[in-house]
Amino acid sequence: MNIVVSIFILTLVLFSIFTYSFVDINLSYLSNLYTGLYLNQRILLSIIYSSLIVVLFSCSYFLLTNLNRLKLNLNKLILFIVLATIFAYPAALTFDIFNYITTAKVTFLYQENPYVVYPIEMLNDPYLAFTRAANKTALYGPFWILLTVIPYFLGLGSFILTLFSFKVFIALFYIGTIYLMRRIDKTAAFFLALNPLVIIESLISSHNDIVMILFALLSLYLFFQKNYMSSFLSILGSVFIKPATLFLTPVYLGLLKDRIFGKKINQEKAFKYSAILMFIIFVLSPIREELYPWYAIWFITFTSFLRKNKFLQSLVLVFSLGLMLRYIPYMATGNYFGLTPIIRNILMITPVLIFLIYTWLKRYSLLR
């Protein structure tokens, strides 16, 4: 057991070091760490990335399928996972963290409404050199912008300090989500904590989806505790970070109906429908933009509670692997167009297809 956990943590450390190959050429604050590898060694980086991802998912699969046998200490595991990833460069796979910081700067330093003023209007601002989507007004809800006042001011005006205070801030929500899950179902917490997609997207790339999810989960938990007003405020907070959790409305209506008619609340049913609804909005997300791997956090959180369904857990893990493979085509070619979107989808679907065929063959004893 210790060996697999050690390999998992070590691979995360290696992944964190690997992220520094992607330090942006325009990021003057980290110019000492700029290597240009992401421009000159695309294939090599893609191979390293693929290898690290495969090792991480293999370890995760082994640990999750042997949870009953292995006596894993969740506290220690979380501590090591966070320590291994917190110092990683957050813009290796996506650049959203720069957008969070620049939006916070527009709001709290320039004191402009980020829903009205574009970051690009702040001419000569040094952050514009590396911020993507600077020609768009705020992309996230007002509650998220309000929350960012904390890491922004903790950064004390230093970019590096701000960058890492945002990372730590989002990591706290990852930790919070795991501990909240543990209060509901200890084993379920492992399924989220050990999913490499959740770790990479929340702790390395620092996406705010984990923040949105914590408030949604807290809302359900508070509902189960019959604390309805706090539950409502919590889901409102979640929706005002990203509106995706608005799709959980039918779950709340169902729970309210059960409560009114004096029926016992079925938590597993609530998680099941939450997972289904979040998966639907995940699948529909390309209508708005495209299928981003970190959106999977929306449903993985809820599927983790359906741990008795081993097939579903394996399928979610395999699909997570497929989603992480979506980064490879751009990493290898530097091109978002041409064959990239097609290859990205093929890479995403392939592990799922292999898994389904394998399961089907196994079920009909063809592999015995």
């Binding site: 320039y110 004191q111 402009e112 009205v116 003023v117 209007e121």
Partner: protein
């Protein structure tokens, strides 16, 4: 020799029928929104007041005041076309009021360390476009107009003075 006479004759013709040609500004004014008298217009007035707070910040105020100034100028233009002189006159004054607030927003932004180069450029373009539209309108309107509403005392609108004033406000912004 005939050629010279022809040129002279054509020059005479051009001078005989003078026609103002305005410099075409690339700045684009918005479509006319709801007009006074409709329920939507009343809602728009409420929205206008709420947006004043939504557009906080120096650049926010710049955008808000410029968009309102544009909106009321277009509204005035439409109302003048329909000979609704009193309403048009009032809208023109509103447009001026909002335009006057733009410069202080730019100054405040500058004071707060923001680069205002593109905002000044945009204001200049907008002012040029406004002047262009005002000059076109002024040509087809009477100097004064006696507005006689039902059951109320009449009022003389000094349109010429209003236009001069509006143009001067915009020239100051150039």
């Amino acid at each position: 020799m005939f050629r010279y006479y022809l040129i002279l004759f054509l020059t005479f013709l051009i001078l005989l029928f003078p026609r103002n040609i305005f410099a075409e500004s690339s700045y684009v004014l918005p479509y006319p929104s709801a007009m006074p008298g409709s329920i939507i217009y009343k809602l728009n007035l409420i929205q206008e007041e709420l947006l004043r707070f939504w557009y906080f910040g120096d650049f926010g105020q710049f955008k808000y005041n410029l968009s309102q100034s544009d909106k009321y100028l277009v509204e005035a233009k439409t109302l003048f076309d329909y000979k609704q002189y009193l309403l048009a006159f009032q809208d023109l004054q509103k447009s001026d009021k909002y335009l006057k607030k733009i410069e202080p927003a730019i100054l405040s932004a500058k004071k707060n360390g923001k680069n205002t180069t593109d905002k000044k450029k945009l204001l200049k373009e907008a002012a040029e476009k406004h002047i262009e539209e005002l000059l076109k309108l002024k040509q087809n309107l009477p100097q004064t107009f006696k507005w006689r509403p039902e059951k109320q005392q009449g009022r003389t609108l000094n349109l010429s003075e209003a236009f001069e004033n509006s143009i001067r406000v915009r020239q100051e912004a150039l």
